[in-house]
């Protein structure tokens, strides 16, 4: 058996050797190259969101390089996997900054990973755009290097509550939110919006991502006479909740936010989710040409409709390319300022305009409904953007 042990040691050192050699190689020396770092959970629990971000960024870079949209700058994406773990996110952010020397990072989907990465991008002075994390604390720390193109949750919460009261005049509602950063911030926003609008919240239930059985909580809601359930989480659990609610004979109105807006929700939810109301930033069937071409290209290339976690990174690449085109340098400080006063760009998820704290206030908030096997536009939320 010792022969095998020697073989393994040889293999083991070979693997390490190749890794050591290949690391410095990645810095190619072509002149006008814009390296974009991407930090996303390509493995682990939210692997589907991470890989959607990878596809969105790859497609955007290829399009820009083909059409020469960013002048003679060639975009070069560098993807790193953070497995949804903040410690790994910090390490890979450091790798992108120190090793591959990227001037800008599109990064992290879980709020905890984004927060971990922000510590290092701020220290190194590199602009960071997150297109997936909606935790309030991200843009509340006065960190001027962070930008967020994810749809703003508070606008969505206000739009949903407003729709529930004025369009459907509901009296008693419940919230059913994920016990992760996305769900917890949603729960706070929904409660605040409901209290402001005088809507009674009878049950505030939570679930852990990966839970499978929601009937006990649904039963509690049914007992308390819930007319509507506001859900806040990635699409897998809301699909289950909708299914199990209908099985329990509850015909209450279902609401959800952009996190669950994905064709997978419809596919998994089936007829149980017909009539469900969702707020989101773009619609596959919308008639806006920019959105249409994005969806067709994505469909042609990856064989399925894009989810928000693919569309927002796609826009972030265009924002970066536009900024670099304007300042014609990849100096991080100039790049940050250029991104800060981005304006007049018509993109897939709206025309981005960044507030002082880094939030994108140019986002559209569409109220959509599940009819048949797709989302149908109901109305564009008339939410004036206060902050």
């Amino acid at each position: 058996m010792d022969r095998v042990r020697k073989l393994f040691l040889l293999l083991f050192s070979l693997v390490i050797g190749i890794a050591l050699i290949s690391v410095p190689y990645s810095g190619s020396a072509a002149n006008k190259v814009l390296k974009i770092g991407s930090v996303a959970p390509e493995t682990g629990d939210s692997a589907d969101l991470g890989q959607a971000q990878r596809r969105g960024i790859q497609m955007a870079c290829d399009e820009i390089n083909e059409q020469g949209w960013a002048g003679d700058w060639k975009l070069e994406p560098h993807f790193e996997d953070d497995e949804g773990n903040p410690t790994k996110a910090a390490s890979v952010t450091n790798k992108l900054i120190q090793e591959t020397k990227v001037p800008v990072i599109i990064g992290a989907i879980n709020s905890s990973c984004t927060l971990a990465a922000m510590v290092h991008t701020e220290r190194a002075g590199i602009p960071q755009i997150t297109s997936g994390s909606t935790g309030a604390s991200i843009t509340a720390q006065g960190n001027k290097w962070i930008f967020r193109t994810a749809v703003n949750d508070s606008h969505q919460a206000i739009a949903l509550i407003d729709y529930a009261i004025n369009r459907l005049n509901l009296k008693k509602v419940s919230t059913f939110t994920a016990a992760d950063d996305y769900g917890q911030s949603g729960a706070v926003l929904l409660k605040a919006a409901a209290d402001k609008a005088g809507l009674e919240v009878v049950v505030e239930a939570t679930y852990n991502t990966g839970d499978k059985d929601f009937k006990p909580q649904l039963l509690l809601m049914k007992e308390r006479g819930t007319e509507a359930i506001f859900m806040w989480g990635i699409y897998v659990e809301p699909a289950l909740i909708g299914n199990q609610a209908r099985l329990l004979g509850m015909d209450c109105q279902l609401f959800a936010a952009s996190g669950s807006a994905s064709h997978k929700l419809i596919e998994l939810g089936g007829e149980a989710l017909q009539g469900m109301i969702l707020t989101q930033s773009f619609l596959p069937e919308s008639d806006i040409p920019r959105v249409k071409s994005f969806i067709d290209n994505y469909n042609k290339r990856f064989g399925e409709d894009p989810i928000p976690h693919a569309a927002q990174p796609y826009d972030s690449v265009y924002i970066i390319a536009d900024a670099v085109r304007r300042i014609d340098t990849t100096d991080p400080v100039k790049l940050r300022d250029a991104i800060a006063n981005t304006s007049g760009l018509e993109l897939v998820t709206g025309s981005p305009r960044f507030a002082a704290n880094g939030d994108d206030v140019g986002k559209r908030v569409l109220i959509t409904e599940i009819r048949g096997d797709a989302f149908r536009l109901v109305e564009i939320a008339a939410v004036e953007l206060s902050d």
Binding site: M1, K212, V236
Partner: protein, 295 residues
């Protein structure tokens, strides 16, 4: 309304309990016969679900045929795991904790292979028995739950029969009692280990296919169910076959009551607290006697 929802949580906890019991049986069977913990048991469930999904949903085979093909396929994977991990570890007589790390490596490999092959998205597994609930009074029984209970219990009885009356089953129990003595009696200890791994992998596969319609098929479903199965097996008394079944149902019921009555956020915390207290009272598990060691 009062008495009624206690019954409800009971009915709701049973099918999940059956799934946990099937996975727990895998842990207990392997621990009983080979004396080791197989940490890749959860991923056998995932593999069963995915292979079943491929056959039933994509290739359109009918459900029973898909079940009959998937189970032996995953059983072979179980044998492969035993061959690679256990055989070489036995040869090096390394400590049992190395088997845990070894099977953990296998679990990581299976999980990420599934990610590479089937992609990260959750897949829908159409329930073979439809989803029209059967109503008794205000109680709703779902066909898939009933199907899980029936098939699960049938499998448990089959295992009991196999262990009690077939030749290999008796050999397996002999090895569990005393490996040395069993091998002296001419029982091929290696073969019975392989059999144990194959049987538990097969049960995991069935659990996977049963649970798929309820909770979709994702590449990392194995981790959660594997841990719950381990907890159920330990609470029931590791290595004790009826104990694993009891432990599985017990865990299913605790979770159902905890999330309904107290709070779903703390459901697992409550379940673990209860289980640690139980272990404090009965250190060898709920259904096993404590053997006092004298010299």
């Amino acid at each position: 309304m009062k008495g009624w929802d206690i019954l409800y949580y009971l009915v709701n906890g049973l099918p999940i309990g059956a799934i946990y019991a099937l996975v727990a049986l895998g842990y207990s069977l392997i621990y009983a016969s080979a004396g080791v913990l197989n940490w890749s048991q959860g991923d056998m469930v995932m593999l069963g679900a995915f292979i079943g999904y491929n056959l039933h949903c994509l290739l359109g085979l009918n459900f029973i045929l898909a079940l009959l093909i998937t189970t032996p396929a995953v059983a072979c994977i179980g044998m492969l795991v035993e061959r690679i991990v256990l055989r070489s570890l036995r040869k090096r007589s390394s400590p049992p904790v190395n088997v845990v790390i070894g099977t953990l490596g296998v679990a990581i490999i299976c999980r990420n292979l599934a990610l590479a092959i089937w992609g990260p998205d959750a897949q829908l597994f159409r329930s073979p028995v439809g989803s029209v609930p059967v109503e008794i009074g205000t109680l709703r029984l779902f066909p898939q739950d009933i199907f899980i209970l029936i098939l699960g219990i049938a499998l448990m009885i089959l295992l009991q029969y196999f262990l009690k009356y077939t030749r290999e089953g008796k050999a397996l129990r002999a090895v569990a009692q005393d490996r040395m003595a069993a091998s002296l009696m001419g029982i091929d200890v290696g073969k019975s280990d392989t059999l144990a791994f194959a049987a538990s992998a097969a049960m995991g596969a069935v659990a996977g296919i049963l649970i798929a319609p309820l909770f979709f098929v994702t590449f990392n479903m194995g981790a959660g169910i594997g841990l719950k199965g381990f907890v159920a097996a330990v609470v029931g008394g590791l290595g004790n076959i009826p104990g694993a079944i009891g432990g599985g149902f017990f865990l299913g019921l605790i979770e159902s009551f905890a999330s309904g009555k107290i709070s779903s956020g703390y459901r697992d915390a409550i379940a673990f607290t209860v289980l640690i207290l139980i272990l404090w009272l009965k250190p060898a598990g709920l259904f096993s006697k404590i053997t006092k060691e004298t010299v």
